[in-house]
Symmetry: C2
Subunit: 169 residues, 2 copies
DNA sequence: GTCCATGCAAACCTTTTGCACTATA
DNA sequence: TATAGTGCAAAAGGTTTGCATGGAC
C-alpha cells in the first residue's frame, strides 16, 4: 500500500514549527498546526486562497485572519518564505527538504514557477559589499519570461513601447 | 545665473512621451505632460504620493486617478520603470539619461536605494535559456541589507528565526 | 486562572473604475 | 464636433485590526 501522500512526511516540519512557537512562548494551536501542515505538504508557491481551500478540502474551516497570522509566524521562524510575483497578492513556500537557496523563473503566460540555483549571486553580493560598503542580508532574483511549453505553444510577446526610444531630440 | 534645476533638461524626454502618445493616437494633455515632467526631473524612485506632492509644489493639482493612468502610459512606453520594493506600494523611475539597465540595493533600515550594474545577470540568463528552455524577457534583482551609513550608525539586525532550523527531528 | 488565539466583521491602503464634465485634435 | 481625458467619489482586492469568545498551558 502506497500512502496517499507520497511526499516526505510533514510531521517533523510541523513539530519544528511547534518548537519555534514554544521557544517564543506562544501556544501551539490546532489551527496553527493545520496551516503549517498544508504549507509543508506542498512544493508549490501557495497563495492564501490556495491554503484556505486546501484546509477546507481536509475539513478544516479556518478564518483568513488566522491564516495570515500563522503565515506571519511561519515566515518569522524562517521555515517559510514569502514571495511577491507581482500578481497583487503574496505566495508562500516552505524552505525545508529542498534546495533552501534558489531563485525563480516565472512564466508570464501561464504563471508557472520554476526554481534554479545561482552561484553567481554570491559573487555579486561579495562585490557589492566591497564596492559599496553595503551589507547584503537577503536578495530577490526573479526572471520573467516564457517557459518552454508556452514557447512551443507558439506564444509571442507584444512590444508596445516607443518605436525608437533612443532618440531624445 | 545657474538655472533652478541643474539636472539635464527634461523637455526632450517629455517630448518623447508626446511622440509616444501621438503614435498611439492619444491626446497630449497638460496633466500628462506635468506628470511626465515630474518623473523625468527626478533621479529617485518616486511613489505616487511623491509625484502628487511635487505636482502640488509646482501649483499643479492633478487627481490621483490621472497620475495612475499617466504612469501606466509611461510604463507602457518603456520610458519609465515600475518597481515594488515590498513597501506596499509601487515606485517609478525614468529610464533615460542614466544606465538604463541596473539592479537595486535597498537598505531595509533607512529605505535608501542604490543602483548597480551586473554583467553576471546576462550569463545567468543565457544559462537559463540553454538549461531550462526558458526564454528570459525581464528580470528583477534586488539585494536587501544595510547601507554603509546605517552600518556606521551601529544598526544591527535581529534574527528571530528558529534557533537551529536544520534539525528536523 | 491567565494569557493568548480565534473568528467575524470592519478598517485599511493602494489601486481601479464609473460617470458627469471638460479638453484635445 | 467627435473622441478621449479628467476629477471626484465609490469600488475593488488583498491584508490588517478590534473585539468578544474560546482554547492553550
Amino acid at each position: 500500500m502506497t500512502p496517499v501522500n507520497a511526499n516526505p512526511p510533514t510531521a517533523p516540519f510541523v513539530r519544528l514549527f511547534g518548537r519555534y512557537l514554544r521557544e517564543q512562548g506562544l501556544p501551539v494551536t490546532q489551527q496553527r498546526e493545520a496551516v503549517a501542515e498544508v504549507v509543508f505538504a506542498s512544493d508549490e508557491h501557495l497563495s492564501v486562497d490556495d491554503i484556505e481551500s486546501r484546509l477546507r478540502e481536509e475539513g478544516d474551516r479556518i478564518g483568513k485572519a488566522t491564516i495570515y497570522r500563522t503565515l506571519d509566524l511561519l515566515v518569522r521562524s524562517k521555515l517559510v518564505a514569502e514571495h511577491d510575483f507581482g500578481e497583487g497578492f503574496k505566495r508562500y513556500e516552505h524552505r525545508l527538504s529542498r534546495q533552501p537557496e534558489h531563485e525563480h523563473l516565472i512564466c508570464t503566460e501561464c504563471g508557472d514557477v520554476l526554481e534554479f540555483r545561482s552561484r553567481e549571486i554570491n559573487q555579486i553580493e561579495s562585490r557589492i559589499q566591497e564596492q559599496y560598503g553595503f551589507r547584503p542580508v537577503r536578495h530577490k532574483l526573479e526572471i520573467y519570461g516564457l517557459c518552454r511549453s508556452c514557447q512551443e505553444a507558439g506564444v509571442e510577446l507584444p512590444d508596445d513601447g516607443l518605436t525608437c526610444p533612443i532618440e531624445t531630440v
